[in-house]
């Protein structure tokens, strides 16, 4: 087990080097003077320019510049935004809870609907129900979610007037940020209306972001269940006279869950990518929208820092999923070690 742990953890280092390299190259490969790229466009004298180049170490060879950059990163210094002049790390930390709240809600939506749908489809294999679930999940899997979001806005916000169009909560409510998750913070503030407002703002974005994971989880659950349902121990359980609910819910589901849990873990990377689109459609103030805005404003330090932070988060979550998987499933642990 220890060896498995060490091997897996040691893989993090080259991955992190890769992410920092990508973020570093990003700023240096963008056409234009790196000083302008990093500090925005304003006129300075050639002397001042040379001085600044030296100050930022931009006159050093690229490998040296890279090492300086990594040094800054490891000390938690990701530079400042060209627009707001606030440290990138602070901006990220302020917006990140919004993205996590959205992603967790989306995942909850996907799991709560996807698991039962997949189980039902596998138990009622080749029936109308099975075909319906699989058809729907293929449509969900093929869905351009940026369009799906617009459709839901037209239907629920515009035609029916059930949900607000954008943002996280109505401006009328001033909620004290305790956890950064508005659902929890509004509950803590004992304001039921604020909670309802936050929930109403969250529903549509969560559905949009959760649609593709929902489709993936339903498909994966079905195929994992089908594989398990053919095993001898299921026949034994049935032969013992256990009620079907127990056979399916306990004997089959437990074993089918292993690949499903992995798939859920692997959706984390997707959630960030999807959050970029979802947050843009619903003006959700999270890191996804922040990144898109940074591109449009040519705010390269933000883009660089954001990419680095998100890459690192995904890397850590993937590592955690892998380690957990090794804990749940000894077969993996021994095969890899």
């Amino acid at each position: 087990m220890l060896r498995f742990l060490l091997t897996r953890v040691s893989l993090v280092i080259p991955t992190f080097v890769g992410i920092t390299l990508l973020a570093f190259i990003l700023v240096h490969a963008v056409p234009g003077d790196p000083l302008q790229v990093m500090n925005g466009e304003y006129a300075i004298t050639p002397e001042r320019h040379a001085e600044l180049m030296h100050e930022y170490g931009l006159d050093r060879p690229l490998p040296a510049q890279y090492l300086i950059y990594v040094g800054h990163v490891l000390r938690g210094d990701l530079g400042r935004s060209l627009i707001t002049h606030a440290p990138v790390v602070e901006e990220f930390a302020a917006l990140f809870p919004a993205t996590i709240e959205l992603s967790l809600s989306a995942m909850l939506f996907a799991v709560v609907l996807g698991l039962p749908a997949g189980i039902l489809a596998s138990v009622k294999r080749n029936t109308f129900l099975d075909h319906g679930v699989m058809g729907a999940s293929l449509v969900g899997y093929s869905m351009p979610i940026f369009w799906w979001g617009l459709l839901l806005i037209i239907l629920f916000s515009n035609t029916l007037g059930w949900t607000p169009v954008s943002g996280r909560i109505d401006v009328a409510y001033d909620i004290e940020p305790v956890t950064g998750f508005l659902l929890i913070d509004s509950l803590l503030s004992d304001d039921a209306d604020a909670f309802r407002s936050a929930l109403g703002h969250l529903v549509l974005p969560a559905i949009v972001l959760g649609t593709i994971p929902l489709a993936v989880i339903a498909r994966m659950t079905r195929s994992a269940m089908l594989e398990v349902l053919g095993e001898d121990y299921i026949r034994t359980a049935r032969a013992k006279g256990l009620i079907p609910l127990r056979v399916i819910g306990v004997h089959a589901l437990r074993n089918a869950l292993i690949p499903v849990v992995t798939v859920i873990g692997l959706q984390v990377g997707y959630l960030f990518a999807g959050a970029i689109l979802t947050e843009t459609i619903f003006s959700w103030p999270g890191v996804g929208k922040w990144l898109v805005d940074s591109i449009n404003r040519r705010d390269y330090p933000v883009l660089q820092g954001g990419v680095l932070m998100i890459g690192t988060v995904v890397m850590i979550v993937n590592l955690a999923v892998d380690l957990l998987y090794g804990l749940i499933n000894p077969r993996i642990r021994y095969r890899r070690a």
Partner: protein, 300 residues
């Protein structure tokens, strides 16, 4: 010979050819056949776009801004699916959009398929330092959410359709490399490869002539599925104004243009997205069918 026996004796049927066998499996999947039909129509529209579309996709009619489709009040047969905010015919733009979607799919799959298969083959044949290096590199690419990586690459290369295609292609590399390498490693242990080696085949011949053809099935399946995700991702980049630029009638870009009219003109929003969904769905359906027909082992 007794007459009765003749009837029982099985008539020796000609062995089923590979294409015939493939078609038997493929056509058993109704969804796959439907997907194939939709793709055929899409290809037809892309080729004949200039002939079948009633108007130019970029010509705007100043007398018909945001005209609704023909079945709604105010719609005319001149613009069957209505017009967009600057009076361009939606139908013609949608038809021309098929060209871009197919082009995006083809080019992305061609780039990432060629490079990915080459790298995967090499990594499978030289599993030492080279193989490990390639796989590590691919792991790093995989760590990045594909759309985020594509956005970064477009930020570096500059927005535009060509750069969007290159960016998306790079994000798909790991999938081709992994599939190819895994299949190659499986095939390398087979007797026919050893036999060919003993016969004196060189490494290049072993790679391209002996092993590669036997690895094609999962690669083709991967290519079909990448085709559909490429259309989705490129449309997403277009939607973020990082892909094809206006007035290009690319569906994602059309959606980006239409966002301000969500509440006023449903057709400028609904139609391009529906076109994306139908095309992507068709390729996914066909991909599933191909997987069943080409590789029963992959069937789940």
């Amino acid at each position: 010979m007794v007459a009765g026996l003749e009837a029982i004796e099985p008539t020796p049927a000609a062995p089923e050819g590979p294409w015939r066998e493939f078609w038997r499996y493929f056509s058993a999947n109704r969804g796959a056949v439907m997907g194939l039909l939709v793709i055929a129509v899409t290809i037809f529209l892309a080729i004949t776009a200039d002939l079948v579309s009633p108007h130019s996709p970029i010509a705007s009619d100043s007398t018909a801004f945001l005209q609704p489709p023909v079945w709604q009040d105010g719609g005319t047969w001149n613009y069957p699916l209505g017009t967009d905010a600057i009076g361009r015919d939606m139908l013609s733009r949608l038809i021309h959009g098929t060209r871009f979607s197919l082009l995006i799919g083809c080019i992305v799959v061609a780039i990432s398929g060629t490079i990915g298969v080459a790298l995967g083959l090499a990594a499978g044949f030289f599993p030492g330092t080279f193989g490990i290096l390639v796989m590590r590199l691919m792991d790093i690419v995989l760590t990045m959410p594909s759309l985020l990586l594509a956005i970064v690459l477009v930020a570096i290369l500059g927005p535009g359709l060509v750069n969007a295609m290159i960016a998306v292609a790079i994000t798909y590399l790991p999938f081709f490399v992994r599939v190819t390498r895994a299949t190659v490693l499986g095939e390398m242990a087979r007797d026919y490869v050893t036999a060919s080696r003993v016969n004196g085949a060189g490494t290049l011949r072993l790679m391209l002539v002996t092993v590669l053809p036997n690895c094609l099935a999962p690669i083709i399946v991967q290519a079909t599925l990448s085709f559909s995700t490429a259309i989705l991702d490129a449309a997403a980049l277009g939607f973020l104004s990082l892909g094809a630029q206006p007035p290009t009638p690319e569906w994602g870009t059309m959606l980006a243009d239409s966002r301000d009219f969500v509440l006023r003109a449903w057709w400028v929003v609904t139609l391009p997205g529906a076109a994306i969904l139908v095309t992507v769905l068709a390729f996914n359906l066909m991909g599933d069918g191909l997987r069943d027909a080409l590789d029963p082992r992959l069937k789940r």
